[in-house]
Symmetry: none
Subunit: 440 residues, 2 copies
Amino acid sequence: MRVEILAIGTELVSGAKTDTNSGWLARRLGDLGLTARFITLLGDDHADNLDAFRVAAVRSDVVLTTGGLGPTQDDLTREIVAELRGVPLIEDRDSLEAIRGFFARLNRTMSPRNAVQALVPEDCRPIPNPVGTAPGIWAPPRPNDPQVRAAFVCLPGVPHEMKTMFDERVIPLLRDAFPQAFGSNVLTTRLNLFGRGESEMESQALDLTTRGRNPDVGITASDGLISFHIRSFGSTEAEARQRLEADRQEIQRRFADFLVGEGSEELPHAVARLLAERKVTLALAESCTGGMISTELTAIPGISAHYLGGLVTYANTAKTQLLGVPASLLETHGAVSEPVARAMAEGVRLRLGADLGLSVTGIAGPGGGSLEKPVGLVWFGLATSQGSIAHRSEIGPEKPRDIIRKRAVRIALDLVRRHLRSSADPHRPPQTNDLASSSS
Amino acid sequence: MRVEILAIGTELVSGAKTDTNSGWLARRLGDLGLTARFITLLGDDHADNLDAFRVAAVRSDVVLTTGGLGPTQDDLTREIVAELRGVPLIEDRDSLEAIRGFFARLNRTMSPRNAVQALVPEDCRPIPNPVGTAPGIWAPPRPNDPQVRAAFVCLPGVPHEMKTMFDERVIPLLRDAFPQAFGSNVLTTRLNLFGRGESEMESQALDLTTRGRNPDVGITASDGLISFHIRSFGSTEAEARQRLEADRQEIQRRFADFLVGEGSEELPHAVARLLAERKVTLALAESCTGGMISTELTAIPGISAHYLGGLVTYANTAKTQLLGVPASLLETHGAVSEPVARAMAEGVRLRLGADLGLSVTGIAGPGGGSLEKPVGLVWFGLATSQGSIAHRSEIGPEKPRDIIRKRAVRIALDLVRRHLRSSADPHRPPQTNDLASSSS
């Protein structure tokens, strides 16, 4: 089945905004055993929309579109679909009721303009939107119309609305309309690793990543997190599963020490899971990461049983007042130093009554670096009731502030992961050996 | 001049890798006063490439392509351009010498396959690559060929090679070939607003966003931040500037209360700027936002003079231990309540010795909601030395955790912005009236 994606919005072609919807849809299609052939971004322009819809309508079987369904004059998708098919737009009563209900639940007045969102081309069906105002459009193929060979699935551009609708509504629609295109013979997974560079990992997996091999194994990297994407094909589901399993085990065997999780499980989830398994509580003291580690942990529902809280001690006064770091330590060694990292971890552990204290203090730049302490130098501290340790990392050189902070978050979380994973007793003092691999 | 971009590589349509080249090119085009009409991502497939090149060759004046110029069998761009034009590929001696020289400088042996990178379609010219092996291709328009109206500029997919070549080689080429398309007569800016919904803002600006008007004004929304994109054209730069200025002032006049900043200045920057102007220090107590506000503020270099630090009091024990929120308040009213929000703001202000204390406590879901306190209910507290206030917001319903948290961050920052903006004395007690507009 030939599938393509159209992402609509002037902000996407002007470079003002990055299109994340298409990448998500492409990965979802991959999970279903399908591949997008084209992803086209285009602006809110009538002629350009008509052109792109016409091109797609004859070369593909299914066209997924995002954007252009809002209530404003810029939102053209409804009109374009109607024009392509030569049918009028009609008001769909159920959609109008749903939009009214949405505003009523928010206790907000519905703007008259929102009524246009209930319009649908006459020979098409609305796709209900359970989480927003804009319904989607299901425009079936027209077998006798050489200009409209493709089915169109039009979804809103708001990512969480688009994703919910795709998973809940569109997949069943497509399975119904194109039963032959979906088999149970494609299985995918993703293994996430941390602690070694992409090229080093890749050089140890060249036999797996050969083109044309089954399973197909690809490697991607993002801020130090390396992902192996395995996609396995089989004439039966059991065959595909067996192949997937073999590769999964092989990668686990080769990179056991670096394996963080599978699928959407990345470092914060691994830490959350290990904290729960070991019945351990954690407290954080963040300086240069400024709350980012805390943000990632608290994105996980239910973490509050094990993550007690944290301190963002951005100014030096906050380090002394809130964490009890002696002013003399700060004067003698500077804020970015081994003794201060340890004192921060010990201080936050005690003040929050946690089992583990984790600290980060570093120079994220662009200013503040020196020959001895360059931009990108970060010290991490880890404390238990029985002792503390510090770990040094140089992230850079010449990395931007944002990248240094993101990488520091991952190294910090990996330190906790390695400590919890390696020691039989999570309360024993942290060991340098356990943590050594986080230095990359 | 009609410009479009083709980004070639199977990893881009499979979702394995994000295409960053096209966004960069789109922004560069914008700087030159040009707009990409289409950005198309496609895989390393011969038929798909030919299809995409054919479509672009008739609908655009200039087509920029990235990728497909490497030495492997997957790299098809050279072939496709030759096939589109019906000409053979010939070896370019200068390119071959340049490739040999590149390997010699690296002390590496040139693989025989790299010689294919010196091939160029007979009626085209190579574009030298000073930083890599793959030269680009300049394929001029063919005025008498209805199938090839467009000029093609083919660049490698490696971002730093592509960027260097575009800036150093392609811009002069395009200025030469299309002198009439480049002027100093296009100016752009972006005004960022917060506090009202997209459709409400747009309904008050329909006269500005009319299609075909000069300046061209478009509206985008992202997590509650509304941006007006103004793009003004003039026969002289002064004329374009005058038009831009008129629209900027008109939008400022209509939406003065909601205007956060211009260009890349969003809420964190506005707060940072106001803190510096008013010589005020801030401390944060975050519960459901878990460190996100702190993360956004500390992304701004130099903020440490005004942002002292924050507490992430995720567990209730942290609220009492670190902030001194009385346990009785938590028991009587619950953590998500007006008295607790105020006590958190007061507590963090005192403990960090700051001028302003800001707190957030809410139910981010998916669990933990009730009829009385639904998921999405968030209380915000703001304290000065002379008093405190609380602000209630319902974000939702049915919004995912991630969205509730992001929106809460913006509302919180906007509270501080409004307080600092409206009161002559930033130390006076916060006023409900000043903050009222953040409830959207």
